[in-house]
Amino acid sequence: MNTISELMTHDHRDCDGIFARAEELASDGDWADAAAALKKFADALNAHFDAEESTLFPAFEQATGMTQGPTMVMRHEHQNMRDTLAALQYALDKQDADDFAGEAETLLIMMQQHNMKEESVIYPMLDSRLPGDEQERLSASVGKHLVEARAA
């Protein structure tokens, strides 16, 4: 049985891998394959955000009583990343390699500092504050959601 930390951290790394692939294809000027890879990345990223916003963050808020704190910041950062993802998509549509590289760099750093916060604060708090059976239930349903979103 995976902890929520392990499950979500693993998903972060998976997203990173798909992101690196899209970045590489775009820098090679292989725009068709880059578009496919970016689509795959966007799906994975959105599935991850959805799982957090609809399941994990509410559980965090309930367990800690903090509704205006960390999760609010995380939701806001998700929105920033969605915006940058849109800018990345726009650069891809224009086949503008420079813009793509700049937006990709921005998204990568934004994503990683966000991941750091989740992995060092949010997930460990979920692991330690939620009762064992609740953790198991959440982890199973989030895991299923992530797998289904990838398969879709």
């Binding site: 930390s5 951290t9 990173d16 891998g17 992101f19 690196a20 692939r21 970045e23 590489e24 820098s27 916003e53 800690t64 009583g65 903090m66 704190g69 960390p70 609010m72 910041v73 995380m74 939701r75 998700h78 929105q79 920033n80 969605r82 915006d83 940058t84 849109a86 800018a87 420079d98 813009d99 590289a101 700049g102 937006e103 760099e105 921005t106 990568l108 750093i109 934004m110 990683q112 500092q113 991941n115 750091m116 916060k117 992995e119 060092s120 604060v121 949010i122 460990p124 708090m125 692991d127 330690s128």
Partner: protein, 432 residues
């Protein structure tokens, strides 16, 4: 209850860390000018000029950047924020800048009162910073964090305290005739060893555990390695210190070799991970980071040679490779990531449309500055063996850091211009 330090209120204002980042390269410029006008400084590690340059670099460049970065990164990696970051930054920055200038001038020009004044300011500034950091860390979220970074940050702080204490006692020897229980060169070696490994390397490693896998998209460092590395370094430093105090030569020798192996182990592991990065086209700062790891490995090798050879140039060459090549290279690479991101972050948090990272600082000026950096390292290494080249190395060093300053200033200006243009970020108010 108080939330962990993730809220926007916990992000220190832009100017808090940036003042450190902009001041740091200026000390590098002064180090270059000292080398240019200082004559045959590099013939031995004991020349007043060499001592001045070492401190301009270690306390002026490395320490300034590291403190600025800590202000920024503690909320992110340790869930801990400093109380009153702007005020703490203001006080420490002024004290450390004046203190480092006094210390370097006092050492270089042989001015005891300036040296003592500088040391008092430097240690005082550090005391304020470390007290605030300790307070922040003690209030930080207890999270069962899955990285070793928060623990290693604490160890690096302890290493810095020991370095500062040894350094201050040396200043008292030079200025007030304090009597030491061990020979002065031994205390100097311990001061340098604790500074290099106990403070700088442990801090760099603590950052690397997080930064290398995340930003360069590599596998994680092996867990056993990150669990043991910093405690092993600190324990070895303690054993070495005891061996020096009790003058046990074998233990001393083993401890120094062990420290070298630990340093090489960190650099080697990092190179291995970087070689297997999933970002197949490494960007320029990434390449600079790798070059720094190679320089550090070479530095360790030279340091080991210096244990057997009495030639004056080995310790100097080791110092050049480790300080300028290793720490200087990694710090420069990180600055090129941190400063544009901070500019972007603060614009975005203000609800403004921020230019992307490469518009804030394009690749070309970074690449050019880093080429000068490589040239600077090569010339410094040559100048160790060919003293007549020292002024040339000084010029290249000054250009390297002047250029770094210009590149960072460019980001600050780009941020200001973007803030003036003040276009609301599209979608920033859209709800999800």
């Amino acid at each position: 209850m108080m939330g962990p330090g993730l809220s926007y209120d916990d992000t220190p204002p832009f100017s808090a860390p940036v003042r450190f980042f902009l001041t740091a390269p200026l000390f590098g410029v002064v180090a270059g000018l000292t080398l240019l006008f200082g004559g045959e400084i590099l013939v031995s590690r004991w020349t007043p000029g060499a001592l001045a340059i070492t401190h301009l670099f270690a306390a002026g460049f490395m320490l300034q950047v590291m403190l600025g970065a800590l202000l920024q990164v503690m909320p992110v990696v340790a869930g801990a924020s400093m109380p009153a970051p702007l005020r703490i930054a203001g006080v420490t920055h002024v004290a450390m800048t004046l203190g480092t200038a006094g210390l370097a001038y006092g050492l270089g020009a042989g001015a005891p009162d300036v040296l003592l004044g500088g040391a008092v300011l430097l240690v005082g500034g550090l005391f304020v910073f470390l007290s605030a950091a300790a307070l922040g860390l003690s209030r930080g979220a207890r999270t069962g964090n899955n990285t070793r970074t928060p623990r290693d940050l604490r160890m690096a702080f302890a290493g810095l305290v020991v370095t500062a204490a040894l350094g201050f006692s040396l200043v008292l020897v030079l200025t007030r005739g304090l009597a030491l229980p061990v020979p002065l060169p031994t205390v100097v070696n311990l001061h340098a060893g604790w500074g290099w490994m106990g403070w700088a390397a442990v801090l760099l490693a603590a950052a690397s555990w997080v930064v290398v896998p995340m930003f360069q998209i590599t596998a994680a460092y092996p867990q056993r390695f990150t669990t043991l590395w910093a405690p092993a370094v600190t324990a070895t430093l303690v054993l070495w210190t005891l061996a020096e105090y009790f003058a046990i030569d074998t233990a001393r020798f083993i401890a120094i070799i062990a420290l070298g192996l630990l340093g090489a182990g960190y650099a080697g592991t990092t190179l291995y991970l970087q070689a297997h990065s999933r970002r197949s086209k490494p960007d320029t700062p990434f390449l600079a980071f790798r070059e720094a790891m190679y320089a550090a490995l070479a530095g360790v090798l030279v340091l080991v040679i210096s244990l057997w050879s009495d030639a004056d140039w080995w310790p100097i060459l080791a110092g050049v490779l480790i300080l300028h090549g290793g720490f200087g290279g990694t710090i420069t690479a990180m600055l090129y990531k941190i400063v544009p991101f901070l500019a972007w972050l603060h614009l975005t948090q203000a609800g403004l449309k921020a230019p992307n990272m490469k518009k804030l600082l394009p690749d070309t000026p970074i690449r050019r500055q880093l080429r000068v950096r490589s040239a600077s390292l090569a010339t410094l290494c040559l100048a160790v063996f060919v003293p007549i080249l020292a002024p040339v190395a000084g010029i290249v060093l000054a250009v390297e850091f002047g250029w770094l300053f210009a590149n960072l200033l460019r980001v600050v200006r780009a941020r200001r211009d973007a803030a003036k243009a003040a276009v609301p970020r599209p979608g920033s108010h859209a709800s999800t």
